[in-house]
Amino acid sequence: MELKEEGARTGDGPAAEVPPLRRIVVESETVPIRVGDYAGPPDPEYGKEPWQLAAGLDGEPTWIEERMRTEGLSIAYGDKRAVKDVSIEVNSGEVLALIGPSGCGKTTLLRSLNRLVELTPAAKRTGRIILDDQDVDSFDVTHLRSRVGMLFQQPNPFPMSIFDNVAYGLRERGSKKPRRRQLEPIVVDALERAGLWDEVSSNLNHPALALSGGQQQRLCIARSLAVSPEVLLLDEPCSALDPISTGIIEETIVELRSEVAIVIVTHNLQQAARIADRVAFMYLGDMVESGPAGQVFGAPREARTQEYVGGGFG
């Protein structure tokens, strides 16, 4: 295993204006950690060090680089505290899965990362959210949301054509509307990355709502990708889908994680084990434990985690 430090990002794209960060490239055939594979003791340092090595699930080494983190984040709806003092980081190059029983605050935590929770009048936030070393409160909320994309539990394509859906974010962000000719390559690229291009390439002008649920969800992924986010938040994106569509979306997610930091909320522990590099377990608003997927599932430190994941794999 050979470690190299690099001072600049090799990839291009919109994230290039981000200040260069120190990072480590892993060049080796990394062994995917799977549930049960993790043999060593719980790693107390995990999550403390700025950079970790990736254990690519698809065998591909990836960059690990911090994109976002929360510091003592709490959210309350009126008197009810839904998220309590959560500190966690979101890295590009890996998939972070949020798991936990219903009502433990996963959606609330996710929605606070792009400040969508502010659409709920009763919600109050304390604590800091940092995106690329900047407090998210310091920039315009629309800017934040174009850098931190989100996918919802129910696919929610707009009542427009497939093309217009993907182009929507690009068209409506600035004051000047780009032409279709300029948009086309971006739309095609986004659809390709979302794994939908082959199915819709011949009918980009068809209504998006006529697509199947799984296709709609992938269209929503494409719609988010078109504005080139650095972080993608997925709130139970497969819970309304059949196993085949779920499989396709999982593949898409694993492929995307080398470009975008991904946070996925899921109730499906098998799914978390399949696609997540890191898992965070929440319980009644507390972040009980977070660590490599293999550790959280294979050798959880906390009894509550043990109890929860034990049920899922028993």
Partner: protein, 338 residues
Amino acid sequence: MEAATLTEAPARATLGRDRTDRRVELLLGALASTILLLIAGMILFVLIKALPSFTHNGLAWFGAGGSVDDQLMNIFNSPADPADYVYKLRAWPLLYATALITGVAVFVSVVFSVLSGIFIVEFAPDRLRRVIEPVVKLLAAVPSVIYGLIGILVVVPWVADHLISEDRKASVAYVIQLDGTSILVGIFILTIMICPIMIAIIVDALRSVPEKWVEGAAALGVNRWRAMRTVSLRAIRPAIVAALVLATARALGEAIMLSMVAGSVGFAPNPLDGITFLFEPARPLASTIVDNSEGLSVVPFGQTMYAFAAILLISSAFLSFAGWAARKSFSRYTLGAR
């Protein structure tokens, strides 16, 4: 709700079509056909009755020329012998008044109603909303005579006293009398009359726009106002068209109120008169029919009134069709998923 029902709908349609279902279907079908037949019969009847007025005048019927009120008087005073019936009519001032008053009122109403709809749904504080909504629905049900009464007793005198100067009255005194009854008041009250129904429809439609679309737009970094315009308003275009058709139909057919406040003179206000234009009187087709209802027994006069009715009927038929086509094209991407 959304996509799922789209694919499930056909399955549900083929479910248990038992005999009661068939019978209900037949009954409803028969009722619908009867109504359609009645409407077709009515249109045919009106057209046949109206025919003499159109054939005697040809295309000139729609043109301008002379005083339409004098022409109507001549028709009313036709000799008793059918061979000597007078039909000559140049209906332009009435057509023009109808189009002008309806068009302006509907245009102003659409803009105002969409904006108030957005305000009520998006921005109004809860307490205000709880008052506004029932009031709007109540206003939509107020009979037009009441608007006419308020118009003639309050608005018309106020306009005559405060907005029209003596000089202005004198400047046109040789053609027309400016007494406050005017297209301005007519359009104003008509707008107030048709807004509530439009607002009610638009508010309901905006409310039914799924929250997830708005959230989806917000999550892409699109600001609230822009998301409103590009997602919500776009999605409710069919409802806006429906509101527009309804309001236009009501405006076209509004007779009593307009005949009370718009002057009831067969005069074509001239925009070249500048501000004075607004204070000039006019009388649309529907008011003309109502104002002259006592003369219907005079055969050529009655036929002339039928001609007016035919124009109104054809306009509303055309309106419904255009509305249907517009709704269809606007719903292309919505697929009924709201």
